[in-house]
């Protein structure tokens, strides 16, 4: 029996109905919004707490981040095309646009990782002693000398990183969606799944606009 038939067979509003799933996902996104809100507030609180570490001005390349931003925003558009594919019941169009979205998302994450790596390699986030030398920090063990990264950078990496982790999770789900599409095609259930992922992906875009403004523009300009 195909899932669609079951859907019509369940009178009286039963689980696994697409709209229930989507409402659940909306509510999940609301709670995620509160998580991000806390991270934003946290960043605001510590936005000038550099201690002995460097300030972000010299280390962040706004053009680089702008490209990152455009890539992510474009991926939202391409996901939109994937959803048009879903509407038209065309598995191949859905697959194609999903694939392009995936590539753009992966590019975004790679650029972000590169940026993080660059910041650490330059030594920007580390606390320094009176001579300006980085205080060593033994992994997980406080050696009593107070090494590590300053509060500003702690808030920076946790906020940007949280967004990055979300995008990564979205990429993992995209890979799973290829498998789902391969197994069953565009069934009602897979459509609901793609709908949820679409909400998630656009949501991450909007959050990124917040990150770009609060962290990069206000921080660097």
């Amino acid at each position: 029996m195909s899932p669609t038939m079951i859907k019509t067979a369940q009178a009286g509003g039963h689980h696994d109905d697409g709209s229930t799933r989507i409402l659940g996902f909306w509510i999940y996104i609301l709670q995620d919004l509160f998580l991000f809100a806390t991270f934003f507030a946290n960043f605001a609180v510590f936005s000038a707490s550099y201690s002995s570490a460097e300030t972000p001005k010299e280390f962040i390349d706004l053009n680089f981040v702008l490209i990152e931003t455009f890539i992510l925003l474009t991926s939202s558009i391409t996901y939109g095309f994937a959803m048009i594919g879903v509407r038209k019941n065309s598995v191949s169009a859905t697959r194609l646009w999903l694939f392009i979205t995936f590539i753009l998302g992966a590019l975004f994450i790679s650029m972000e990782l590169y940026e993080f790596h660059h910041l650490f390699a330059e030594g920007a986030p580390y606390l320094r002693d009176a001579q300006g030398n980085i205080i060593p920090y033994a992994n997980g063990i406080d050696d009593g000398r107070g090494g590590g990264i300053a509060a500003y950078w702690s808030a920076f990496f946790s906020l940007v990183g949280l967004h990055g982790l979300h995008v990564t999770a979205g990429l993992v789900v995209m890979v799973c969606m290829f498998v789902h599409l391969g197994m069953h095609g565009l069934t009602a259930r897979n459509k609901a799944r793609l709908g949820c992922l679409s909400l998630f992906w656009h949501f991450l875009d909007i959050v990124w606009i917040g990150v770009f403004t609060a962290v990069y523009l206000l921080g660097v300009l």
Binding site: G24, Q31, T38, S51, A53, S154, C176
Partner: protein
């Protein structure tokens, strides 16, 4: 400072109580597992409970977890109180400071997150779908997963008893004490990861119940015709949705401080511990409403039934709930008036705190007016409710005393405060949940708990509470601070001895409760686990839909989805004298069981343990295991469910109709 993961078994060697407790727990666990295997119950346990996605069974599992954790948390309380009664002046008691500190932390955390919260979710699970006329929750698999994640958290926190130690930081773990500089060993890590697990579970549960209530109400049941308990669940779950992310974020920051050399709540590196204190109380104050609003909901269900009257002020109840939803976010600073935020800030929060008692008062009056001129029956659920109304008002009054910012400079962190929050939490939350527990028990199993023991349990808790906590107000006013392992002034000893007497009276109350359950289990064993179909409304005068189906309800709850036209839908059916339908049934679609939730829970448990002990390869393995289990479930799980054939439905409904007909003649 050395390696935080050194000497994991130190406590076992040095503190005999810990050693014997651990041995006892291990022996009991082995006996239980062996018993299950020898009696050949494993298969049935696996099929009917562990992998079950039935909201009723999950509800029962949550309640079992909560009762076990109540005993655990109460054992901590007995230890603290008996110790304190000895540790004054010359006396030194029997718990070294470093152990005492772990005990009050574990007690607070377990009582709030692993006793009260699971009990709450147990009641939500069992009651909500039945009250709104649904056949299950919106996401049955997530429901099962939530339970197993909660379970994993509870096990993880209890592992800390034997392996390593627990935090010595109080239930909200203020830094810098909870940071690496104040707590270099793994105690705080146990705290963080067990609460992170239960936090994820609670959030998923909240999403599930909100969707269930918004999407799956029986036709005709508009929001303003919904039972108050469901309304309180809406508000409580909405609060969970907004505050748990804040707590989880705070834990993530603390984790980064402790594991990766970040500086959020440290004294150096431009960190600021007061930020943490704001986060945890932005969570912590609404959290008390998460717990107490459903308690109000339970009273609004129980009081009308045992007064044989409809609830007074139905819509006022709902508006009061919604006002509290908003106000609960505007009072958090009253937990740290002493921070020195300045007159304007403290005054604002002081006034808001006083205002929040207004909607609460509205509710109290509504229950009193419901009882007024009603025919009150003093059954155990009603006794708990009346005890709750009386006690909770008192706790509210001392709360208003604490809300005066200037007075709070004296009360802050004193034993007076500890007396206040136990007053509201035992009087308000525990009494109500127990009311709900004895009230809905016959719905779950078809027979009532022993009445005499129930009444004994209530009176022991009620009297014991006053004996155990009123002297605490007094010593608090005399200057005793909280979280103290030893007091200098021997003159206070008499108060502490009275409190111990009170604690043992409460112990009798818990014993009666456990005896009730043992009698119930014996009854169940005599029936070999086949509970007969029982009549719908064992208390008489039931008003909402859960009382319209057989007790225990069939797996599909409602053979035909009921049509609702008023509040108190079942009452209306009784008034109209609707006969029970016995023919013309459709097959019922049901979700299939799954083991995925269980395995994800197990992976999460080991993941937490590996994180605590910095075993990074195991962290990777379990993380991938948990994610892969989830993904595999989405690929290969049985999402189509199955059908209960119409004939089976018919069989059950006919048996039910026979029982009901017999009941009516008698």
């Amino acid at each position: 400072m050395g390696d935080p993961t050194a000497a994991p078994f130190e406590a076992l060697g040095q503190v005999p109580i810990v050693l014997y407790t651990c041995l006892a727990i291990v022996v009991i666990a082995v006996l239980v597992v062996a018993g299950i295997l020898l009696l050949g119950w494993w298969g049935s346990l696996w099929r009917n409970w562990i992998t079950s996605v039935d909201h009723k069974r999950l509800g029962i599992m949550y309640v079992v977890l909560a009762v076990v954790m109540l005993v655990r948390g109460f054992a901590d309380a007995i230890m603290m109180r008996t110790h304190q009664a000895m540790a004054l002046g010359e006396g030194s008691g029997y718990l070294p400071p470093e152990h005492y500190d772990q005990i009050f932390t574990a007690h607070g955390v377990i009582m709030i997150f692993f006793m009260a919260t699971p009990l709450l979710f147990g009641l939500f699970n069992f009651v909500i779908p039945l009250q709104i006329g649904a056949r299950d929750v919106a996401f049955p698999f997530l429901n099962n997963l939530s339970f197993w994640l909660t379970f994993a958290g509870a096990i993880l926190i209890n592992i800390s008893l034997g392996v390593g130690n627990f935090g010595r930081v109080g239930w909200l773990a203020y830094p810098p004490l909870s940071g690496l500089s104040g707590s270099p060993d793994t105690g705080v890590d146990y705290y963080i990861w067990s609460l992170q697990l239960s936090g994820v579970a609670t959030t998923m549960g909240a999403i599930n119940f909100l969707v269930t209530i918004f999407k799956m109400r029986a036709p005709g049941m508009t929001l303003m015709k919904m039972p108050i308990f469901c309304w309180s669940a809406v508000v409580s779950n909405a609060l969970i949705l907004m505050i748990y992310p804040v707590l989880m974020a705070a834990y993530i920051f603390l984790t980064l401080d402790r594991y990766l050399g970040f500086h959020f709540f440290t004294n150096d590196g431009a960190g600021n511990p007061m930020v943490w204190i704001n986060y945890v109380w932005v969570f912590g104050h609404p959290e008390v409403y998460v717990l107490v609003l459903p308690a109000f909901g339970i009273l609004s269900e129980v009081v009308p039934v045992f007064s044989s009257k409809r609830l007074f002020g139905y819509s006022a109840m709902i508006w009061a709930l919604l006002v509290i939803l908003v106000l609960s976010f505007l009072v958090w600073v009253h937990h740290f008036f002493t921070m020195g935020a300045g007159i304007a800030v403290n005054t604002f929060f002081s006034i808001m705190t006083m205002i929040i008692s207004v909607p609460t008062g509205v509710k109290i009056f509504n229950w009193l007016f419901t009882m007024y001129k009603g025919r009150i029956r003093f059954e155990p659920p009603m006794l708990w409710c009346m005890g709750m109304i009386f006690t909770f008002v008192g706790g509210g009054l001392t709360g208003v005393m604490l809300s005066l910012a200037s007075a709070d400079w004296a009360f802050h962190n004193s034993a007076f405060l500890v007396a206040h929050f136990h007053h509201t939490i035992i009087g308000g939350v525990v009494f109500s949940y127990l009311a709900g527990f004895v009230f809905w028990f016959p719905k779950a199993f078809g027979f009532k708990l022993n009445r005499t023991l129930g009444i004994a349990s209530f009176w022991c808790w009620f009297v014991g509470f006053y004996v155990a906590f009123f002297p605490l107000y007094v010593v608090g006013l005399k200057g005793a601070t909280r979280r103290m392992q030893h007091f200098m002034d021997p003159a206070w000893q008499i108060y502490y001895i009275v409190m111990v007497v009170g604690v043992f009276i409460i112990a009798l109350g818990i014993l009666s409760l456990v005896l009730q359950l043992i009698l119930a289990i014996i009854h169940g064993c005599k029936l070999k686990g086949n509970l007969p179909v029982g009549k719908a409304d064992p208390w008489g005068d039931g008003r909402s839909l859960e009382w319209s189906v057989s007790s225990p309800p069939p797996p599909y709850n409602f053979a035909t989805v009921p049509q609702v036209s008023t509040t108190d839908a079942y009452w209306q059916m009784k008034v109209e004298g609707k006969p029970i339908k016995t023919s013309g049934f459709q097959p019922v679609h049901m979700p299939s069981n799954t083991a995925a939730g269980f395995w994800i829970g197990i992976f999460a448990l080991i993941l937490g343990f590996a994180l605590v002990w910095h075993i990074w390869w195991l962290v990777m393995l379990c993380f991938i295991g948990a994610v892969a289990s989830f993904i595999c479930y989405s690929f290969f799980g049985d999402h189509d469910g199955y059908y209960i054939p119409a004939a089976k439905v018919q069989e059950h409904e006919e048996a039910f109709a026979r029982i009901e007909a017999k009941g009516r003649k008698a």
